[in-house]
């Protein structure tokens, strides 16, 4: 008898009996949905489609007529072909490496109980929201000239492609752990037990039962990692050297350094097409992931490690320590390792505006950029939350093809060259009625563009998980429809909104590619200042870059950690947590 064992409240994905729903007129439902979608659609039309379209048009429309021939010229260029080849193979290699390293981690975080698990889960998420500039400098400090491995072990990796691959694993470890592990934790272990009772060995049971169930989640995670590494910018910019360049970096080079707009336009289109294809396949795997699986409360599937699992746990912890904690630790250590021994020299130098020795000066002190960044990121978060929440509400009901297209559209900015967006902003939003050239709003708007997909990814599953009958239960107890929303939906979604806000804030804080174009010289953001410092010679500049990166990392981690723990404080939040954090 197991009656008095705690029974989990019906989870988000426990097969809910299909209760007949009160039918509303389909016309009205569509109207409501379109009204909700109107603001996000307008936002994307004005701040994404228009600037990107305009810059592509400028590139291909020269001398008064369209020049489609440019496409052939660009694609025929051997150096561009080299970039394409490198972009693809490094993304594929990074994805494979990330899966190999992170899948055991997904298992450990999903199925094993160990002290400090929740904190560690938050910690491995930090790199994901870390500005690429910071990560790049962390790996430079770890693997570069005079860096950790150079001085201790006598080898450097900053000139090899391994630095790039390792940095990509560092970034995307959390994507695999959260997406695959989130599902793994909810898979009913009894399915595997049933297979074993039918004569399957431990491994066979895993391969025949668990792996097929995980397959779509692994595919989805792999595609996301591929997308992020395919469009990698900051890491390549810092660690790639002159010979290694991705499409994204090449677009930046063609646009900002060579001012070759036609080439940039063709590359932008190429990247958009590739990203759209990746997103299409991703949407397809996500739909397959929604297929009927026996899911249970994640809290009940974890157990203390036994036997070989202890070894696995130790291995995963070692990987996390080496791959995630060490680079971050080295970065912090370098920031304190000043010319006069350990101390706060670099931090003190951040407060002054003179460029420390090599002649260049800043309009503002690097420390002031912290304040700029926080302001911009806060506004960007508000915009992203408003747009993202409306979009998620419009998408919450199982929707037709049109709405699925909308879903994919929301993800597109993640894979579009930030440089294109930034430059597009400059050339389109400079005349009435949208003359934002001198407005500080330009920066948060561009940053919100990358924040919205995260808000939608986090809020949508939670909204979808709210059981209709929970709403009905409230109504029967006397709550009016508005009250039902306030009492049932809001408390559940509020927490997800908090998490979404954390992600949006962190990615806004770290946004570099677009911001570097549109931030005014007298009010740069933190990542822009880091990049400038890194771009200059001299120990002092390098040290200041490390110090500023440390501050940036601390702010990102704090915003994430505060929210990770805030929603964990109440025990019932767990199933919400597990529903979120998939990308």
């Amino acid at each position: 008898m197991d009656v008095d064992r705690p029974v989990a409240p019906a989870g988000p994905a426990t097969a809910a009996p299909t209760s007949p729903r009160p039918r509303r007129s389909p016309g009205r439902a569509t109207a409501v949905r379109l009204a909700l979608a109107a603001l996000p659609l307008a936002f994307f039309a004005v701040f994404f489609a228009y600037p990107v379209g305009a810059i592509v048009a400028r590139g291909l429309h020269q001398g008064g007529r369209w020049r489609p021939g440019v496409v052939g010229d660009v694609l025929g260029d051997p150096s561009i072909r080299h970039v394409l080849w490198f972009t693809c193979w490094q993304a594929a290699a990074s994805t494979a490496l990330t899966l190999a390293v992170a899948l055991p981690g997904a298992y450990v975080f999903a199925r094993l109980d160990f002290p400090g698990k929740h904190l560690l889960r938050a910690v491995v998420t930090v790199p994901f929201v870390l500005p690429t500039v910071v990560a790049g400098s962390a790996f430079l400090a770890l693997l570069g000239r005079g860096g950790f491995t150079d001085s201790l072990l006598g080898f450097r990796l900053d000139t090899s492609v391994w630095a790039i691959l390792i940095a990509h694993v560092f970034f995307n470890y959390a994507v695999v752990v959260r997406t695959v592990g989130g599902l793994w934790a909810q898979l009913d272990p009894r399915q595997e037990e049933a297979a074993r009772m039918l004569g399957a060995g431990r491994f066979a049971a895993w391969r025949r039962v668990t792996l097929p169930a995980l397959g779509p989640a692994v595919a989805a995670a792999a595609l996301m990692v591929f997308l992020f590494t395919f469009t990698s910018f900051g890491v390549i910019q810092i660690l790639g050297g002159p010979t290694r360049s991705t499409l994204e970096v090449e677009i930046y080079r063609q646009t900002a350094e060579l001012l070759d707009l036609p080439t940039a336009a063709v590359l932008t289109l190429l990247q958009l097409a590739a990203v759209a294809a990746i997103l299409g396949v991703h949407a397809w795997t996500v739909r397959r992931r929604e297929a009927t699986l026996r899911l249970v409360d994640a809290a009940r599937t974890a157990h203390r490690p036994r036997g070989a699992e202890r070894v696995l746990l130790a291995g995963v912890l070692a990987v996390v320590a080496l791959l995630i904690l060490l680079p971050l630790g080295v970065l912090v250590a370098r920031s304190f390792d000043g010319p006069n021994g350990y101390g706060l020299d670099f931090y003190r130098a951040l407060a002054s505006t003179d460029g420390s020795g090599d002649g260049g000066t800043f309009l503002v002190s690097p420390l002031e950029t912290v304040w700029n960044s926080l302001r911009y990121a806060a506004v960007a978060t508000v915009i992203a939350l408003a747009v993202g929440a409306l979009a998620a509400t419009a998408l919450v009901r199982r929707a037709g093809r049109l709405m699925r297209g909308f879903d994919a559209l929301l993800m597109l900015p993640l894979g579009t060259s930030a440089v294109t967006v930034g430059f597009g902003f400059l050339i389109t939003l400079d005349k009435p009625p949208l003359d934002l050239r001198d407005s500080w709003l330009l920066v948060p708007l561009a940053q919100a563009l990358v924040g919205v997909p995260f808000v939608v990814r986090v809020v949508l599953p939670v909204l979808r998980a709210v059981d209709d009958r929970l709403r009905e239960a409230a109504a029967v107890l006397g709550a009016s429809p508005l009250r039902v929303w306030r009492e049932v939906e809001l408390p559940l979604v509020a927490r997800a909104m908090g998490i979404a806000a954390g992600f949006a804030f962190a990615v806004s804080l770290g946004e570099f590619g677009a911001t570097v174009f549109i931030a005014r010289p007298d009010s740069p953001t933190l990542p822009v200042a880091v990049a400038r410092l890194l771009g200059r010679a001299g120990e002092m500049n390098y040290g200041q870059a490390m110090a500023l990166s440390t501050i940036l990392m601390a702010v990102c981690a704090a915003s994430l950690l505060v929210l990770e723990t805030a929603w964990r404080r109440r025990g019932d939040g767990r199933r919400i947590t597990d529903a979120t954090g998939e990308f």
């Binding site: 989990a8 039918r23 409230a474 029967v476 006397g478 009250r483």
Partner: protein, 344 residues
Amino acid sequence: MALLRIDAATVRFGDRAALDGVDLDVTAHETVCVLGPSGSGKSTLLRAVAGLQPLDGGRILLDGADQAGTPPHRRGVGLMFQDHQLFPQRDVGGNVAFGPRMHRVPRDLRERRVAELLDLVGLPGAAQRAVGTLSGGEQQRVALARALAPEPRLLMLDEPLGQLDRSLRERLVVELRQLFGRLGTTVLAVTHDQGEAFALADRVVVMQDGRIAQSGTPLEVWQRPDSEFVARFLGFDAVTDGVVSGGVAVTDWGKLPVPDGTPEGPARVLVRPPGVLLGPADEGLLCEVRARTFRGGRVAVILGVVGAERGPQLEAECTLRDAPAEGDRIGVTFDPAEVVVLHR
């Protein structure tokens, strides 16, 4: 006047009628159980009364007032959901206090009522517990307390004990009946479990394909099922063809005495287990014992008629001590009081 009057209620899903012209009255302080197999429209009936399911035809009246256009939250009825649907983000007290809060009951009164109700359902002092830590039986109790808290004029229960195990179910059903009697609650409950329905209800309504097949006191329905559907749903399978004439029904099993006033002509005839009397093999209808199943202290004996192996089986009841062994041959006689002529 009936507290609840359902008047020719009809609900269609596509071209299937989930409710097909259902008429039902529930008077104040009465407990009515709707019984039927899954898909017979029971839950739809509750949802229609609650206002969660719009009607395609007919009316629902509460205290004589037509409820068309009245939204669920203004109907003053309570509904306990099949899987409880406790609010996961609130503790036990918060769940129970939800209804009174919606009805603007002052805080001190509310708190007192929560404490009273938790006492009543046997969970004193549980107000601070998180709902995730409750066992199935405890969740059920909290759901009941929550449904009672706003003092609904009609309490509806959808498979109230459905997910609990047998022993707990049997204990709780007695508790529920006593509780409703003490509080004077008017209850409309839905279940697929006949034992639950008969133990809980003053009146039982059996549904079949969106219609009411039979309605009556538990004893009436149990002893005199109206139709073969009801008989078989209640577990009575000893049904055969017969022709009624002159106070007896002529069947494969011989001549069965039927109650006075039974219309003449062909009919379906049921013999309830207590009416199948076992005797020595040379008396009455010769049968062979095919199987025995234990039901509490009694044994149900499944009998095949010798010479009619393919015909319907008979079922008899006896004590453990008197039960014949499998394969025994015995003679069967019938008690006229337990012979039921079913409506076709």
